[in-house]
Symmetry: C2
Subunit: 323 residues, 2 copies
């Protein structure tokens, strides 16, 4: 991994290699065009449905790429990671595919459904406090104890490259694509998509969308360096992480703009995706669409892709179908 | 339209023609393979996601085929239909695409969301009682008054042929397909899929699934002729209709078996589709999957397609994302 001041940590070649490496283990997710939503917003909306990915999130891509990239010797040591949820399940699944052990740290405020998903792959997560420091410390201790290889949820280059395959697929699937909206938490998906899209078709605009309650990336772009979160309570649990030291320089140099969205906008976007596009998005998965709804005038008449990054939603007491 | 005792009302050629005729106006919906569900049920499950179709249901296919098949002279008279909802919206949309008037009868117990969908295409539906007789009488009166052409929700051959394109696509999309589960209400989708699949690959098993509270097709198969429903209150509102006089002979001669499912199974299947496959199915859209869950042992190890026929679900007071 090169440093923030060195050469870019990933290139288009890394993403193309990732695409070949992961092809047999991940879903080439469909792009869904919803006529009703496009008409209402006045632009051509293409949902990249990563909620239909294995483990219900794009995280399956980076995890498989990282685990399948390990040398035989490294692989035998197993992998360790920390994650609010979807990356954790993705690593548990990828390790299972390769037949190696996985050691996983999750914040204690992770959604019960995401903890259960990790357990369904035969891995019992170690719980810790919610801050980036607490997560990283717990993972470091676990790594020291087990000797396993760290697969960071967004800083590991092979993870970023894997997530970037979403960008490659979008360019292949949507002819005449003009803009892409991407949710940002740690920045792995955004950095990967930026490197893929801006290398191949730099004229395509790429926008980051971030919960206003987790605005560390917005503040980091203003400050010119990664800034810590000030709170960890956005409903978009997948985006509570701090922007990465390695993802930030890529984002800073390539992203076209960033939109902040309210909690109400996120919940409303999630409902619209369910009611009109008939897809289940988790809160983090609806953040990019919230950014489009709030800024629809900026996308008028443009072919716009919106990444639905994940779909692991707990329906709790909802009486679905009892109307 | 030939009679039940005459030659088959549709052939594979009709379905192939429909596929070409509707290609520019409908979605070739994706097939979604959910790893978690396949593992749990012990068979390879492929969801044919017609909830991602325009108007949120397979009905877009038959409606477009019927409307686009009309001669210029007939088209100018407009179209009339009766429907519990999705066919109504599909006809309103198809008529709009061709620029002709649509006159639509809906039962007064149709879901408010489905009535609103029709209105969104600029058509005000005429409401009537819920029985097949009440619907048909209201439509006949409207037809007499307007001179429009009747496009029946399942008896019109062009509608059946359009729905049959779901079967053609499944054979193209799922290699090694061994079984298909199809919900049955009036029987248009089932009859169309049967003609397509049993003509091209007769060894593929096709099963009908019906709510136990709307078991008219099950009783009709036993009696050897179409039997009326005894009640109209299954949560699967799209399947409250009586099996058709023209769809029944096709179904009777080609279907491999029929499963009845309880209301609880339908609601549980809908929730599993949302929580694990991250797709929104309406109750009728989850009926086929309920049939698979209830009879999983009969599908062990087999490549099985499940048609999610629609996704127009009203989330009502559900606090999505607030867990």
């Amino acid at each position: 991994m090169s440093s923030p001041t060195g050469p870019p940590v990933i290139t288009l070649d890394d993403i193309r290699s990732a695409q070949q490496r992961i092809a047999d283990y991940v879903v080439r997710t469909p792009v869904i065009n919803c006529e009703v939503i496009s008409k209402r917003l006045g632009c051509g909306v293409s949902f990249k449905a990563e909620n239909l990915q294995h483990v219900g999130a794009f995280k399956a891509r980076g995890a498989v790429n990282a685990v399948m990239s390990l040398s035989e010797e490294d692989a035998r040591r197993g992998v360790v990671t920390h994650s609010s949820g979807n990356h954790a399940a993705a690593i548990a699944r990828a390790a299972g595919l390769r037949g190696i052990p996985a050691f996983i740290v999750m914040p204690e405020n992770a959604s019960p459904k995401k903890i259960a998903a990790v357990e369904s792959y035969g891995v019992s997560p170690v719980l810790c406090g919610p801050s980036t420091q607490q997560r990283e410390q717990a993972a470091a201790e676990l790594q020291q104890r087990t000797g396993a290889i760290l697969v960071h949820p967004f800083e590991t280059p092979a993870v970023m490259a894997g997530q970037g395959t979403v960008g490659l697929e979008l360019l292949e699937q949507v002819s005449g694509l003009e803009a892409i909206l991407v949710p940002v938490g740690g920045g792995g998906l955004l950095a990967g998509v930026l490197v893929a899209v801006k290398t191949i078709r730099p004229e395509v605009k790429v926008y980051a969308v971030e919960p206003a309650l987790a605005d560390d990336t917005a503040r980091s772009l203003k400050a010119g360096s990664p800034q810590p979160p000030t709170r960890y309570d956005t409903v978009a649990d997948g985006l509570r992480t701090q922007i990465g030291d390695h993802t930030f320089p890529i984002i800073e140099s390539l992203v076209d703009d960033l939109f902040l969205v309210s909690e109400a906008s996120i919940l409303s976007a999630m409902r619209t995706i369910a009611e009109d596009a008939h897809l289940v998005a988790e809160p983090s998965g609806a953040v990019a669409f919230a950014g489009l709804i709030d800024n629809a005038d900026r996308f008028a008449g443009r072919s716009t892709a919106v990444i639905i990054s994940g779909g692991n939603l707990n329906f709790g007491d909802c009486q679905l179908g009892r109307n």
